[in-house]
């Protein structure tokens, strides 16, 4: 294709959008509605997953050591645990730190009560690791590993919390997958209807072009430009709208439901839209492209 032909086809695509205002508006509206719905779903699901992940990260395993374990042995153990893929972090608290923390927590108003233990740390054997996991569903395998490790006296963990969180995460995954599939199906149905109207409008035009001797690419190119541009406009509008709605909703929720929001955090608008924006543009452009390809494919056989 010559550059001048490409420029002509591109121009025609843009002109087609203006020429068929009603059809263009209907298409932009359909795509925008679908992407708006998907955007809302994505925002909700992403926040849910974020909250579940946060909750999972707060679940920790505490490991106590055998009496009289050497500091070298502790360092060695920490090294081995940190190397495991499911481990997010390992924090070591020495017996002295444990006692200091205990004093701060329980004797802060009467520090003299703790003086009796000045030279005799009652938590001498309470040095420990606090381990946070990347994924709570991996908890059991790590616990098994810890229990079988040399130098470990006791492993404290909550089985119920971990399995509840894992189940909840799974459920959110399934529900969101189902909703997105349903939305996609609805979107495809709506778009195919719009495309059907498009076919009726353009059938004659495509036929005339073909009878004059237009090659397939020449007929197709303006339609493709039109489809992609409509798709992108149809994606940009809801994304901009959602961006502001999201910010408003999050600040409203934070303000209104402080008791709930104190235990959870919401994802920032930036982190939600840095994923949703490009994905929506690709989906919008893709839907536009597919729609226009389907519209003309049948009619090119003149």
């Amino acid at each position: 294709m010559k550059i001048s032909t490409f420029a002509y086809c591109f121009n025609q695509g843009i002109k087609n959008i203006k020429r068929n205002k009603l059809f263009s508006l209907a298409s932009v509206g359909t795509i925008a509605a679908c992407i708006f719905m998907m955007g809302i779903m994505y925002s909700v699901i992403a926040n849910f997953q974020h909250m579940v992940k946060e909750a999972g990260e707060s679940v920790s395993i505490t490991v106590f050591f055998d009496e009289g374990i050497s500091p070298d042995k502790i360092t060695f153990l920490q090294d081995r645990i940190e190397k495991r893929p499911e481990v997010a972090s390992v924090e070591y608290t020495s017996a002295e730190e444990a006692w200091d923390n205990f004093k701060k927590q329980y004797f802060s108003s009467n520090p003299e009560l703790a003086d009796g233990f000045k030279d005799d740390n009652p938590l001498a054997n309470s040095a420990y690791f606090e381990i946070h996991l990347k994924d709570v569903s991996e908890q059991q395998s790590l616990v098994d590993f810890l229990k079988s490790s040399d130098g470990v006296r006791q492993v404290n963990y909550s089985d119920v919390t971990a399995s509840a969180l894992t189940d909840f995460a799974k459920m959110v995954g399934y529900v969101s997958m189902t909703i997105i599939l349903v939305l996609l199906a609805v979107g495809i149905f709506l778009i195919s209807n719009t495309v059907m109207i498009g076919i009726a409008v353009r059938k004659e035009e495509i036929k005339i072009m073909k009878l004059i001797g237009a090659a397939d690419y020449f007929v197709r190119a303006p339609f493709i430009v039109e489809g992609i541009v409509i798709g992108i406009i149809g994606a940009v509008i809801p994304i901009i709208g959602l961006y502001f709605v999201y910010k408003e909703v999050v600040s409203y929720l934070m303000g209104q439901f402080q008791t709930i929001t104190s235990s959870f955090t919401f994802l920032s608008a930036h982190s939600v839209f840095s994923v949703m924006g490009p994905v929506a543009l690709i989906i919008g452009g893709g839907i536009g492209l597919a729609g226009s390809m389907i519209t003309i494919r049948k009619h090119l056989k003149v």
């Binding site: 005339i208 073909k210 001797g213 020449f218």
Partner: protein, 228 residues
């Protein structure tokens, strides 16, 4: 130039539209194809444009055999054949200039050539003043002249006209026919499918008469013999 050998076309209903047709049209000829509705005239035009495939037989145009032609070669075949329809088939959302220029865009003609060629065609069909008008602002005769200009802008060797005067009054019909004759004098082979007895009789050209898909007469300087 145009050659049909034992060509038959049957539609999916089984009814034959064209039966065992043999035809030869030489370069530079002016030919009328006449017959009542259902005689197979329009099917013939569609076969020549490769809009339809023959059920049997071979069609060749300018030495190219249509039956064996690949889909990708169809555009170049059509670019060598201008075509005019009864219902004009102009692009309604484009003005006169753009409609004619469109045929040149399709063959990737440089813009500077288009700017020279389109006004020349508009002047040939007598519509220089109306280049900015849209089809709906024109009379039937004017629309057909735009269609004619579009069909000729790429200098085709053959012009196919399917009932070009079917929607026009006698005055406009004659103007179109005179234009077709003028174009033929310049060397273009012209094939006109028509119902117009008066014109066929007056112009005294080669007349091929069809009835029920069969050529019933082919006369060098013929008249309209079929009774409606």
């Amino acid at each position: 130039m145009i050659e049909l050998e034992n060509v038959s076309k049957a539609y999916s209903t089984g009814a034959p539209a064209i039966k065992n047709m043999n035809l030869k049209i030489e370069k530079g000829e002016f030919v009328f194809i006449v017959g009542n509705s259902g005689s197979g005239k329009s099917t013939l035009i569609k076969l020549l444009l490769k809009e339809l495939e023959p059920t049997e037989g071979t069609i060749s145009i300018n030495g190219k055999v249509l039956n064996k032609m690949k889909r990708s070669k169809i555009p170049s075949l059509r670019r060598d054949m201008g075509v005019v329809f009864q219902d004009f088939r102009l692009l309604k959302d484009r003005n006169v200039y753009e409609n004619i220029a469109f045929a040149q865009r399709v063959v990737e003609t440089p813009t500077r050539v288009i700017k020279r060629r389109v006004p020349a065609m508009l002047s040939l069909v007598g519509l220089s003043e109306k280049y900015r008008s849209f089809p709906k602002e024109l009379s039937g005769g004017e629309q057909q002249r735009v269609a004619l200009a579009r069909a000729l802008v790429n200098n085709p060797s053959i012009l196919l006209a399917d009932e070009p005067t079917g929607n026009l009054d006698p005055k406009n019909s004659w103007e179109i026919m005179k234009l077709l004759e003028e174009i033929n004098k310049r060397g273009t082979t012209v094939l006109v499918v028509t119902h117009n007895r008066e014109i066929v009789d007056a112009m005294s050209k080669r007349v091929i008469t069809m009835n029920k898909g069969v050529v019933v007469s082919d006369e060098k300087k013929g008249g309209y013999i079929y009774e409606d």
